[in-house]
Each structure stands twice: as C-alpha cells, then as structure tokens.
C-alpha cells in the first residue's frame, strides 16, 4: 500500500522534474545563441583577415547564413538541430560541427571521468578521516589541504604541476595526447579542487549523522564502530555528494578548457577556446549547448536518484535549495 503510494508519487515527481528541464534547455539555447553575437563583431573579418575585401566578407556571410536576421538564424539552427541532428557548419574550419566534436568530446569526457574518480576517492577518504577524528591533527590536515586546493587557481596549479612533474621530474608527458597517461596530470588539477568540496561535504554530513541518536543507540548495543559508520553514516553522506558532482559538472568543463589549453590536449575545451578566439559563433553556440544539456541532464538524474535513496525527501516540491 505504502509502496504503491510512494511509487505513484515518485512517478509524478519524475514527470514534473523532466518537464521542468525543457524550458531550462530552451533558455540555454537562447543564451548560447546570443553569447557571441551580442558584441556585434563580424566573424568574417576575424577569420578572413584584414586583407579581405568587402565582397569576400559579404560572400562569407551569405555562405554561412549570417546575413539573415537573427531570429531567422536562430530558427534555422533549432530546425537543423531538432529535425536533422545537425549543429551547423563551423565558420573557422568550414566543416560540420558534429564532425569536429565527435573525436574531441570523448577525450574531454575521459579527462572528466578520471578527475571524478580522483576527487571522489580522495574527497570521501579525506572527509571520512576528518569526521572520524574530529578536532585532531588528522582533521586539521585534511581540512587544510581542502582549503588550499579550493583556493588555488587551477591554471596556476596546472602550470606548477607541469613544471614539477613533467619538466623537472619527467614523470609525465609535457603535453599532447596519445593515451590516458597524458590525462593524469590535468585530471589531478581538476580533481583536487573538486575533492576539496567533496571532502568538506562528506565530513560535515557524516558528522551530523554520527551525532544522531540511532547511531549512538547502535553503538551502545555493541555494534562495532566501523560497522555503524559504514552502514549508516557513509550511505547518508553519499547523497549530497552525488548532487554536488552534478552541480559542479559545468565547472569541470571550464576546468577542462583551462587544462586542455595548458597541456595541449585536443579535446572539447581546447576546441571551444579556439572557436571562441576566432569568433566562430556556430561552433561555440553548439558546443556550449551540448555542455548545458549534459549538465541539465546530470542534475535531473541526481534529483531522481535522490528519491530512490530516501523516499521521504519532499517528493512534492522539486525546488531542492
């Protein structure tokens, strides 16, 4: 009876939550579309260079449909996207954006996956250590390292890592990409900062669970401390970690852009950087849209996952502040 009630409520929540994501993506398309057009610079001028004649500029704009009014360009973009799965033709490289992204996106996903593994393993480990030894030197050490990595700019950490681990010690390649080994240093740059957030979160949510009555009861009943910790506290501590990872996904793409730039990795971030630098509206709007769709979907799944872990969580209202 209760089971069925929860199920139907969960179903309603999921449907409502999915419907809510649609306007979000719609707004994202509008922002992505206007992002590079707002400054009013002419990409033809940037891409063709200063020697280009007026005629050449005009021809370029006609070829890429940039002479049409903005709303027309937007509708064309949406039409291609929805009905043909096309993202348009890059202004700078003259090739379909889908074709350009296909080899690059997996590389960035790989980099982010590796960063996630690093940050989750380290973050939860540090957080648990801190929570089990509150106000000891272990706690201070884990908190201090988190604070440091949280405050250090990733572009600087990447530069220093390159200097120490690649140039000085020669442990890692200085850049480029051949296999996953080339992604280890950049993954640490992204992962260490994310780890700071996760360890802090794990520590505080575990501490609050450890202080709850039922844990104390279980302890007095004679259950060994670590059994209690693993069974109850960690499980509860993991819920917010999933949410925070989904929340930080867009940030990770930004981190990928910085590290791919510094370590010379031909991924999505570097692609967007190069596209933006040459005012390639088309490539930028489509790539940014892909990232936002990934981010919105991840948030959606995190919210849905929440309802399975703890069905009591206000299924009625989805505003999870």
């Amino acid at each position: 009876m209760l089971e069925r009630y929860i199920k139907s409520k969960r179903k309603r929540f999921i449907i409502k939550r999915v419907i809510k994501s649609i306007p979000v993506i719609l707004i994202a398309t509008l922002v992505a579309f206007s992002l590079m057009r707002i400054g009013g610079r002419d990409p033809a001028r940037v891409i063709l260079g200063h020697t280009a004649t007026e005629e050449m500029l005009h021809e370029f704009n006609v070829e890429h449909g940039l002479d049409k009014p903005y709303h027309r360009q937007y509708i064309d973009w949406m039409h291609g996207l929805i009905f043909h799965g096309e993202l348009g033709t890059s202004l700078r490289w003259g090739r379909p954006v889908t074709e350009l992204i296909r080899p690059r996106l997996p590389l960035t996903i790989q980099l982010m996956g590796l960063s996630l593994v690093i940050s989750v393993v380290m973050g939860i480990g540090m957080g648990v250590l801190g929570a089990l030894n509150p106000n000891t030197w272990i706690d201070y050490l884990t908190s201090t390292q988190a604070l440091f990595w949280w405050s250090a700019p990733p572009f600087w950490v990447a530069t220093i890592f390159l200097l120490i681990f690649a140039f000085e010690l020669g442990l890692f390649p200085t850049g480029g990409y051949r296999n996953i080994y080339y992604l280890v240093l950049p993954a640490f740059v992204i992962g260490l900062r994310l780890q700071a957030v996760i360890s802090r979160l794990t520590r505080s949510s575990m501490l609050s669970v450890l202080n709850k009555e039922y844990i104390k009861t279980a302890q007095t009943k004679g259950l060994k401390k670590h059994v209690v910790v693993i069974k109850h506290a960690l499980r509860n501590a993991l819920i917010p970690v999933v949410t925070i990872i989904a929340m930080y996904l867009p940030w990770m793409f930004g981190g990928a852009m910085i590290t791919e730039q510094i370590f010379n990795i031909p991924g999505m971030g570097r692609f967007i950087y190069n596209a933006a630098m040459s005012l390639d509206f088309i490539a930028v709007q489509s790539s940014v849209l892909i990232i936002t769709i990934i981010a919105v979907t991840a948030n959606l799944f995190a919210d849905i996952a929440y309802t399975f872990v703890d069905p009591r969580i206000e299924l009625g209202q989805s505003e999870g502040v």
Binding site: L147, W150, P153, W156, S204, M247, G269, L279, T292, N299
Partner: protein, 307 residues
C-alpha cells in the same frame, strides 16, 4: 552554481560561551555578530590579510619600489636580489611592483563583478520572491539555465565577442555568476513573507514597492553580504583565469593571471615569477574564504554549514 558555495564552515559555535557573553551585558545585534566573528581565529587572520591587501592596493604608487611599467632590457628575468626583492619579469620590470599594482586590478575587478552580479541577482531574487507565480517560475528557470553554463566558457565567448579587455571580462563574469544572489534572496523573501508584520503592512495598504524596500531588502541584507564575500574570491579566480587565457586586461597593465602566463614561458630556468604570483592569488582567495566563512557563521548561525 558550482563555485558559488563555500563549504568551509569553521569551528562550531560554543553556545554556552555565547549565553555567558549575552548575560554579561546587554548586547545589540551588531555586537553579537562581532562577538561570534572574533571567536573565529581564521576569520580574523583573513580579515587582517585583506586589510593589508587593500592598503597595498590603495597605496601602491607610494609603496611600490619601481614603476610597474618601466622596462629594463639589461635586467630581464632576474632572480630575487637586493634591488629587485622578487626579481624581474621578461621585460626587466620589477616583479614586486607589478604584484602590488596587480592587487589593485584584482580587487577592483572582483568588487565590480560582485556589484554587477549582486545587482542582477538581488533584483531578480526580490522579484521572484515577492511577485511569485509565473514570474517566479520564469526567473527560476533562467537561474537553472545560467547555472548549467560553465563560467569560464561563457566568459571567454562573451569577452571575445567584445574584443576582450577589462570591462568585457567584468561584464562576462558578472552576467553569469548572479544566480547564487538570486536564489538566496528569493529564499529569504519567501521566509520573511510568512511573518506577521508583512501581513500587517499589507493590511494597512502599503504599496508593494514600499514593502520591498522597507521590509524585504533590510532583512535579506545579511545574507547578501555573506553571498558577496563568498563570491568575491571566485570572481577574482575567474577573472584571473580569463586574464591568463589572454582575453582580459591588456598589457602592459599588470594582472596576476597574465603574469602567471608570462612567467610560465621561462619557468624552467626562472620559476620565481610563476610561483610568487600564484601564491599572491592563493593568499588573497584564502583570506576572502576565511573572512566569508566567519561572517556567515556570525550572521547566520542557524543555517550555517551550507544550504
């Protein structure tokens, strides 16, 4: 989004101690905040560092030993020495002087970005919270959409579309990081809305505008201050990253991000420029984080520890 939240809550507040403090004398709200704030050692250290930094930024022209733009080809890429305490850069400019002027730029950019994002976020948050209904719905979906953009990618695309530079970078970061202000303001307004004095004000016919400015705004102010101090370091980090990527402050104006970039080109034989400049950023950001956490705990002890 992402960055917006800091999870570095600090030492737990000692309730016993607090009650004792309260009993000793009648304390006002502000005094209470100060009492709680000053018990947090890290927050005090952070604040002290910030004051020092602001002092250096303001008096850079007097304190700096050299003109930060003055090049000296004969003394390029030098190690620290008695003449140049931190060494020189690739054009023979004094590193310490450039760092000091860089502090100016960093703090200025951070402040304006927080002003822009705060202005947008608080306005939208107030609208969403007070009007409610479909206005609230639309604003919150816009918030969701903006939170799913990577700040750096948004920033670089926006800034480049204006040809790069100081103000495009400020606008770019300000236009994308306002979401936390909006969420917090809206949340506070929704909570205050339940209070009886708001009902009273409505009953005696006060206008919506007057209710917003007289009741809502003053009551959400503490939260806004907390969000602003948490946003400051992330604004500094984002703008430094954009400067590093070469779309921000134009050379020869010193900016920390650009200095890390320039220093990285010769770090294999002279690592001092990269190291020192990076540490300046870390110390600044740490100081803001310390102060922000202390302020949050002091102003908002109930909700502390993150929302």
């Amino acid at each position: 989004m992402e960055e917006d939240q800091s999870y570095f809550g600090t030492e737990d507040i000692d309730i016993e101690q607090e009650i004792q403090d309260l009993k000793k004398k009648k304390t006002s709200q502000m005094e209470l905040v100060w009492l709680r704030f000053k018990r947090n050692k890290l927050a005090l250290i952070g604040t002290a560092i910030l004051f020092l930094l602001i002092f250096v930024a303001i008096f850079a022209p007097i304190l700096a030993p050299y003109d930060p733009l003055e090049t000296n080809v004969a003394r390029r890429r030098e190690d620290p020495s008695r003449d140049h305490w931190l060494g020189t850069d690739q054009l023979g400019r004094d590193l310490l002087s450039r760092l000091m002027y860089g502090a100016r730029i960093a703090l200025f950019i951070g402040l304006i970005i927080v002003g822009v994002s705060g202005g947008i976020g608080v306005t939208l948050g107030l609208l969403a919270g007070t009007i409610g209904g479909w206005v609230d719905e639309v604003i919150m979906r816009v918030v969701d959409a903006f939170m799913s953009f990577p700040v750096l990618i948004f920033g670089i695309a926006f800034a480049v579309s204006f040809g790069g530079g100081l103000y495009p970078v400020i606008m770019a970061v300000g236009l994308i990081t306002w979401t936390q202000f909006a969420r917090v303001t809206r949340g506070d307004v929704l909570a205050i809305k339940q209070e009886q004095y708001i009902e009273g004000a409505r009953a005696i016919g006060e206008s919506r505008f007057s209710i917003i400015t007289r009741y809502f705004l003053p009551n959400v102010l503490p939260s806004i201050i907390v969000v602003a101090t948490i946003q400051m370091p992330s604004a500094i980090l984002y703008s430094a990253a954009l400067n590093f990527l070469g779309v921000g402050v134009e050379p020869p104006t010193p900016s920390w991000g650009e200095m890390v970039n320039a220093g990285s080109r010769f770090m294999q034989f002279r690592p001092n420029m990269v190291t020192v400049t990076g540490l300046a950023i870390v110390v600044t950001v740490l100081a803001f984080n310390f102060m922000g956490d202390g302020l949050r705990d002091a102003l908002d002890p109930v909700r502390r520890g993150g929302r």
